[in-house]
Symmetry: C2
Subunit: 252 residues, 2 copies
Amino acid sequence: MANAATRPKTALNQGFSASLALADEEVAALLDLKTTSRTIRRGQEIVSEGRRCSTLSVITEGIAIRYRILRDGQRQILNFLLPGDFAGLTSCFFETALYSIRAITPTIIFQIPFTAVVELLDQHPGLAAGLFRLFASEAAIRAEHLIGIGRLPGLERVAHFLLELLARLRAKGLADERSYGLPLTREVISDALGMSVRNVNRVLQQLRTAGLVRIEDHVVVIENIEELSVLADFEHGYLRPLAIAELAGERG
Amino acid sequence: MANAATRPKTALNQGFSASLALADEEVAALLDLKTTSRTIRRGQEIVSEGRRCSTLSVITEGIAIRYRILRDGQRQILNFLLPGDFAGLTSCFFETALYSIRAITPTIIFQIPFTAVVELLDQHPGLAAGLFRLFASEAAIRAEHLIGIGRLPGLERVAHFLLELLARLRAKGLADERSYGLPLTREVISDALGMSVRNVNRVLQQLRTAGLVRIEDHVVVIENIEELSVLADFEHGYLRPLAIAELAGERG
DNA sequence: CGATCTGTTGACGGGTTTCAACCTACGTGG
DNA sequence: CCACGTAGGTTGAAACCCGTCAACAGATCG
């Protein structure tokens, strides 16, 4: 545990500004809260389904997944949380957390009591605007996810998924131009895309043989972005919501 | 076209308070805006994918769907918009609308320029809280939708879908205890659930034969809610987010 | 009254799932 | 330093759910 103020602010600012486009003023206000930083081991839970969640966690390092375990033991991964994303924001609105969140890499989070965030909203209306933008962004990502699972065959579905992760990670400076390090097991991919492990493997081999994608030792390499984007019909416009400030005033 | 002030406020208030839990003050502020009411015919578009959307539409009567048409002509319905829901809120955050919205029944909407909503946010912080709650609610519905498409076989998927609609409509006083009127064609159901029309028909017949659900002449009748809920593993907790006011203070 | 929409059903095929076996890598403990 | 257990990857065969195609009927509508 370390007080937020003791950590370098630059890294956090980058994370916030990239995902929220908050003004410096709001970032400072968030940091002045009595936040605590926690280190999460790979595989550890951050939010547990069925338990009350009144703390908002901001991920500053590492990757986490939000998921539900069904009656029969199946798992559906709802989304991937990257640095700058909020874990537990939606959970705070319900009696009990609807989904679990688990780190799939070593992860560092800042915890902020939800009540403190609510109080802050009154003082900094700009924070609300930033949160709206975050919600809009997540809603769009979730919608594309839904389309992929609902209507795309396995090959296109995996292709779209890997491209989206590339784009999201690149936007945060966490990926090279066409590759990124991530411990994506076949099981994780299958649970995210509503497929079986067997089929994910089949598809990945097709993509590998076609010279489009290679996953080796926890590193995803997109070998042919153009062709893969065509295959998956991937447009990344949905990843970039506008800030409210841009929308309110005249826009260029 | 009619000015909002000329319409009876009670009906609108009901719609807002049910979905947003706004204070009367905020409702009045929204109504004082230069809103215009529009009547939409069945099948007409409210928002068009690819076109700039800078107007927020509040549905006061009728049902609409939000969807995407894929390259190959397939359609994926993302969600159903009921009275009290906002059409185009997410679209306002992007250069161009990512999805289309189309009425599937005769529909009445109130249109509010997005800039006016943004201005209102500064004056009425409570409005932001209400919008957050709305976002949280939609996020939960979308997540359950994703789980259904990703991991549930056809029978359970349709069952869950029909139960969710019942619960949502009942919450707005638009359904009886176990039935509701809605022009749900097989095609609409299949496009919402990522299935083929053929399979929807197969499944609906199974449900009908089992004495669980009957769809006749645009009316859905859940004949055995308990059994169907068990089949679909349906819990409706996700449909009721808490208001921020409840969360901020001590809760009973 | 023809055109279109919607519902229904049968036959067929294919994409996926299921099940299973085998393999490598890795970590831990004897 | 090897033994063993576990996690993750790979692959084949069979079954099956589901999608595709097609045909037909009733309803609605201009």
